[in-house]
Symmetry: D2
Subunit: 265 residues, 4 copies
Amino acid sequence: MSEVRGFLFPRTATGRSSLLPPPPWHYSGDLLTVEWRTDPAAVAALLPEPLEPVHDDEDPGAVALIFADWQSCGDDLAELDDPVRLQYKEAFVVVRCRWDDRVWSRCVYIWVDKDFALARGHLQGYPKKLGSIHQTRPVTVGRAGPRLEPGGRFAATLAAYDRRLAQVRVTLTGRSESNGFVNGHPMVHHRWVPRIECDGKDALADLVTMRGRDVELGPAWAGTAEVELFDSPVEELTALAPREVLGGYWRSVGTTFAGGETLRP
Amino acid sequence: MSEVRGFLFPRTATGRSSLLPPPPWHYSGDLLTVEWRTDPAAVAALLPEPLEPVHDDEDPGAVALIFADWQSCGDDLAELDDPVRLQYKEAFVVVRCRWDDRVWSRCVYIWVDKDFALARGHLQGYPKKLGSIHQTRPVTVGRAGPRLEPGGRFAATLAAYDRRLAQVRVTLTGRSESNGFVNGHPMVHHRWVPRIECDGKDALADLVTMRGRDVELGPAWAGTAEVELFDSPVEELTALAPREVLGGYWRSVGTTFAGGETLRP
Amino acid sequence: MSEVRGFLFPRTATGRSSLLPPPPWHYSGDLLTVEWRTDPAAVAALLPEPLEPVHDDEDPGAVALIFADWQSCGDDLAELDDPVRLQYKEAFVVVRCRWDDRVWSRCVYIWVDKDFALARGHLQGYPKKLGSIHQTRPVTVGRAGPRLEPGGRFAATLAAYDRRLAQVRVTLTGRSESNGFVNGHPMVHHRWVPRIECDGKDALADLVTMRGRDVELGPAWAGTAEVELFDSPVEELTALAPREVLGGYWRSVGTTFAGGETLRP
Amino acid sequence: MSEVRGFLFPRTATGRSSLLPPPPWHYSGDLLTVEWRTDPAAVAALLPEPLEPVHDDEDPGAVALIFADWQSCGDDLAELDDPVRLQYKEAFVVVRCRWDDRVWSRCVYIWVDKDFALARGHLQGYPKKLGSIHQTRPVTVGRAGPRLEPGGRFAATLAAYDRRLAQVRVTLTGRSESNGFVNGHPMVHHRWVPRIECDGKDALADLVTMRGRDVELGPAWAGTAEVELFDSPVEELTALAPREVLGGYWRSVGTTFAGGETLRP
C-alpha cells in the first residue's frame, strides 16, 4: 500500500491530479447583485433544522441573486498561466436565517460553470450545480458595454440544461456604501453526503460556517433592478418570485478562503 | 424550521431541485474498452491504505481505459423526455487491487461531461472530474461509421481543460466472451470529504463497494487496440503508459444502481 | 505569391487547414421527425422570390421539424479516428414551395453544434446557426432508453443562446413506409452573401439545389407526436405553431453529398 | 412569394431571425498580442494571388498572434441586455503582405467561440473556425489576477477539437506607444465561396478590405513574451514557429464596423 496525497481526489503519490489544490484559494471577481422581497413562507420552506426564519422585523422575505465573474487560484498562482483553469462564472441565491441566536446568510441555490468550482462548493456546503452564466462587463472604450457610471446598464443570465432560469438587469444610479445586505452575514451551510447504502441516511451531515479573509473591496455601485425567473422541471426558483424588487449593485471583490469551521459535527 | 427533502442538495420541501433523483438509477450505454500492461509500480503507487497490489501472478500492471456513451435516468424515467438530462459520456481508468483477501477493481481516474454524473460519482467514491469525451458510434447505414463486424474501426478521445489527454483505437476482429478482465471485480472506493477546517483531515473517509444489479449485456466484440496518453499540468495519466497493449472491446451494457455497501466506516 | 489549396478557407499550401475537406462527404445518422400543419400564411411569409406557396390542395401549411444525430466525414474517412470531428447534431425546419412548375422542399430554419457542419450548410444554402440539440437514442439493453418497437418513447430538444426553443416527443406505434412527406422533394436554397460594403446588396445570391446520392435507408417507424415551440428575441419559430400535429417518425439514414446544382446564378 | 428581410439568413418578414443584425456593429474588448519572427518562406506560403510578401527590409517573417476578449453588439445595443449574445472570444494570426504597391495586414488563421462572430468573420473575409479561447483578465482587487502594471503576468490559450493549439504568456514591463506593428495596416481578405457544384471553382472570390471607424484606444502596455504552438491533424500553426519572439502587448480597444470595400470583385 502506498501513501497518496492531494487535497481532494484523485489522490496520487504527488497530489498533482487532485481536482483541487490545497487552500488557501484566492478569488478576484465582479459581482452583480439583485435583491428583492418574496413571500417569507417561501424562504422559510428552504430552512431545514436547526435553522429558523429571521424575525418579522428582520425582513424574512429578503432574497439576493448574485452573479459573479471570477478568477480564482491556489496559493502558487499556477492557474494565472492557464486561464481556462483560472476563470469561472457563478450565480447564487442567498436568504437569511437564525440559529444560535444570530442571523446568518444561507445559500439555497447556486450554479457554476467549472468542475473545480463545483467540487469546492460541495466541500464548503454550497449546493452547486452546473449552469451557463453570463454577465455584462463594464468597458472603458467603445460602445459595446456600459461604463461604471450613472446610467450604466448591466445584465446577467442563468441557464441550466438548455433552459433559461433567470435574467436580471441593473441600471446604475450612483455610488453606494455596500453591495447589498442579504449576503452580509456569516454563511451557514449543511454538508450532506448520503450513505452509499442510499437508505435515506446521510454519512455526513455537518453544519459549517466559512468566511473570506483578506477581503479587498472595490467601489460599490447601486441602481434600479429588474428580475425575471423561469420554470424548469428540476428547479424551483420561481417559488421565490419577487413581490418587491429592492435594488441592484455592482462591485469588484477580492477574497481568500483558507478553511471554515464545523459548527455542529 | 422546515422539513426538506431530496436525495442530494439543494434540498427543498418537494425534493424536486435535488441534483440527483433518489436511486435506483438505470443505465444503458455502449462501452469501448482498451486494456494494457504498465509498470506494476505505477499501479501500486495509486493504491492507498488498506489496499494492496494484486500478486505477481495476478497481472499487477493491468490497466483498463473504458469509454462509455451512456443514457441514465431515475426510476420514473422522466429524463427520457428531456434527453439533455438523459445522456452523458464517461472515460475511466481501472486497475485491480487486493483487500480483505480478495481481488477488487479500483477506479483511479475518471471524467464525465454532466454535473449529475459527477455528483453521482462522488457519492459512489469515483474521483470524477469533468472532461470532453467522444466515442465513435456503430452505424447500420451509410459510410460515416463502422459496422459491428470484423474490421469495424472504433475510436475514442478524452480531453480536459482544453488539452487532449487520451485517444484510443480499436479494430474489431470478432466476437468475444467478455469485454475485458480488469473491470470485472467488485469495485472498492474511498469516499473522501475533507473537513471544512482544511486541516489535512477528512470529515468522511469511508471505504465502500458497489455493483450494478439487473445487468443486461449485449454481444461483446474484441479487437486490436492502440493507445496514446498525453501530459497535462494537472493529470498523471502518462505515468500509466502501456508496456504492452492487450486488446480492445466493444459492448452494450444495461445496469441499475440501487445502493452500495460501506465496507469500513 | 503562392498557390494555396483547400476546399474552404483557410487555404494553405497543403490544404490541410481547410475548415472542410473536399466532397464527397458521407453521412450516417438517426432522424427523429415531427410533422404538423400551421397557418399556410406563416409558411408563405418565409418564401422569397422566386418561390411560391404550394397549391391549396398540396397542404401549404405542412411543416416538418427534423432532429438528426449524425456522423459525417470526408472521403478518406479520417474523422472516424477522431470522433469529436465526426459527430454533430442538427435540428431543422422544412416547408414546401413551388418554383419552375415543381414542388420543392425548403429549409427555413436550422441549427447544428459544430463549425464544420455550420460552414457546410452555408455552402449548401442552409441558414444554419449554432444550437444545443439532444435526441433520445434507442437502446438494446437496460432501461435507460426506448426500444425501436411500438410504445418506444423518443424525445428531442433544441436550444440556442441559453433558451429552449423546441421540444418534441414521439411514441412509436409501428413500422412505416416513410419518415414523412415534407422533406421528400429536392431542396431549393438561396445562398446569400452580402457585399462587404453592407449596402443592402448581395455579392452572391444564387438559387441552388442539392440532393444526396447513395442513399441508404433503415427501417422507418411512425408514431404519435407532441410539439412545443418557445419564443426568443432572435427567433421566430413560434410563428409556425401547430394547428394540427400529423405524426412523428424515426429512421436511420445514410447518404453522400458530392455537389449540387446552380438553378439560377 | 413574399418579401423577406434580414442582413443575413435566415431571412423572414421581420428580419428578426437573421444570424446578424445590420451593421454598424460596435466592439469593446481587451487584446493580448504576441509578435515574433518566423521563417519568411512560411509567411509567403500563405499569400495567394495577388498578394506578395513584403520586401526583405520590411520584416517579411513577422507574425502576430492576437487574443481578444470582446463584447460586440448591433446599433440598438440590444445584446447588452442578453450578455450571452454580447460576448465572444477570439484568437487570430496576422502577417503582412504587399499588393497594389502598399503594405497590408492579412489574417491567415482565426478562431472564435460564437456563431455570430463566425458568420460575421466569413462575411468580412476572415477564415474563422470555432475554438476555445481563454485570456487572463486584469484585476483591481484580490490576488487572483494580474494588475495592469510592470510585472503583471497575462496568459492566453487556444484549443480546437479538444486539442491545445497555442499558449502565450506576457509579463508587462511598462507603458507603450502601440500594441504591435503587424496588425497595423488595412486588412486585405479574400472572400471565397465555392460553387455548389463543388467543381473546384468559386462562386465568389472577391478581394476586400475593411477597417474599423470610431476607434477608441486605451493605454497600451508592453512586455516580454513566450509562445508555444502545438500540432493537430487539421491545423498548421506550427509551420509559423517563432525564430525570435519580439514582445507582447495588452490594450483595450473600441471600434465600429460599418462596411468595407471591394478591392477586386
